[in-house]
Amino acid sequence: MLQTDMVHGSSENQTTSTEAITEDEILLQDQQLKRIEDEQKSAPLVGDKCSLFSLVALYDPDTSSAFFSKANELTEVYSDIRFIRGDGNCFYRAVLVGLVEIMLADKEKLRKFITSSKEWTEKLVKLGFPDWTCTDFCEFFIEFLQNIYDGKDNADAVFKNLNDDNTANYLLMFFRLITSGHLKENAAHYEPFIGEGLTLAQYCETEIEAMWKESDHLAIIALVKATNIRLRIEYMDRSEAPNGGWHHNLPDGNDDASFVPDITLLYRPGHYDLIYKKPAVAS
């Protein structure tokens, strides 16, 4: 997994100027991109749930002592981890998998989410995503949920779908569209946070609606609001946490005492995985 993080970093250099580069350089760049892609593809899109000690095992107590001890500390509260492939979609994918797991276990929540997904389809059209290519992603997503609801797809089939590139891409695209939709719907609120002379619409087009683009804080808030989930993010590296603490609750303004997250993610620099709390011990 460490390797995928490194891959993550280097893939950020892809968007260099294409002007004035020779064919040899293009060829070399293509080969590098291909190698990065091959490395990424060696990990499953969605790993099996496994013990959190497999995270501890990734770090050397001497050379990575900070991460090693943090991983150990996490095992006191969390029991399991599900590794997600590091390909720029990991945040969206982790939330998708977390939500699907909840809905597999709770038919009422599934029913509500189908309803809200249908509402999102209409809302996207109203927000100016007029093309059928957008609603096509919505319809695919709703069909995926409906198949679970109707008992056509069991958990095995669902995870097979989540691990199938093309199916999963369709589902992720729905998440990207509603993330963008939430930002556009509340443009006045989010506009001040967009940097570098971009408009909110441009930001959404280039950073959210394009696949394999990593999520930033704005994307995270927007997806949390669009899906109406309570999310906790645990940080391996304290300096990365926005509040200077070890974890962050979303939506903002939720203190630890009353906050019960639906989904918990573990953030390691540039990457998100799903983690699961230890079952409560009856006293």
Partner: protein, 153 residues
């Protein structure tokens, strides 16, 4: 293959889009991933001919962009001798899965109708376009007459 679901609908859409400039589209009988569009620019010096444009869709379409090239030779500052050109909408960095082929064709048509000599692929042609436009028009017209396909009636 999920590309099929989308491409069947897009093919029908493009055929019925009502824009003469790119509604003539054919797809290989056994391969939905390969299309040929007959592009009919409406501005001089290209409005006397028809230009075949090949579109190859990747298997993971619409998540990766299609590859689009001219199969008919065209004398244009933004298209090289092999028919390749640079269209931002279909580059890997800019590609959005919701983009339709019709939008790609619209962007290509506008590039052909309104050359962008400031971002040339063929510097010599761009220079001629800017410095000796008369000569450029003449060469391009001759080139069209010689290489381009006949426009459908």
């Amino acid at each position: 293959m999920s590309a099929t679901r989308r491409l069947q609908k897009e093919l029908g859409d493009l055929k019925n889009c009502g824009v003469k400039a790119y509604e003539n589209v054919e797809c290989e009988e056994t391969n939905l991933l390969k299309w040929t569009v007959l592009l009919l620019p409406d501005k001089e010096p290209y409005n006397k001919g028809a230009f075949k444009v090949g579109i190859t869709f990747p298997v993971d379409y619409p998540f990766k962009p299609p590859k689009v090239t001219f199969e008919t030779k065209i004398y244009h500052p933004n298209v090289d001798e092999e028919g390749k050109f640079c269209l931002p909408i279909v580059t890997a960095e800019n590609w959005k899965p919701a983009t339709k082929t019709e939008q790609v064709m619209m962007a290509l048509l506008s590039l052909i109708n309104e050359p962008e000599p400031s971002h040339p692929i063929r510097a010599d042609v761009a220079e001629e376009f800017q410095k000796d436009n008369k000569k450029f028009m003449k060469t391009a017209e001759e080139h069209t007459r010689k290489h381009a396909e006949k426009r459908p009636e």
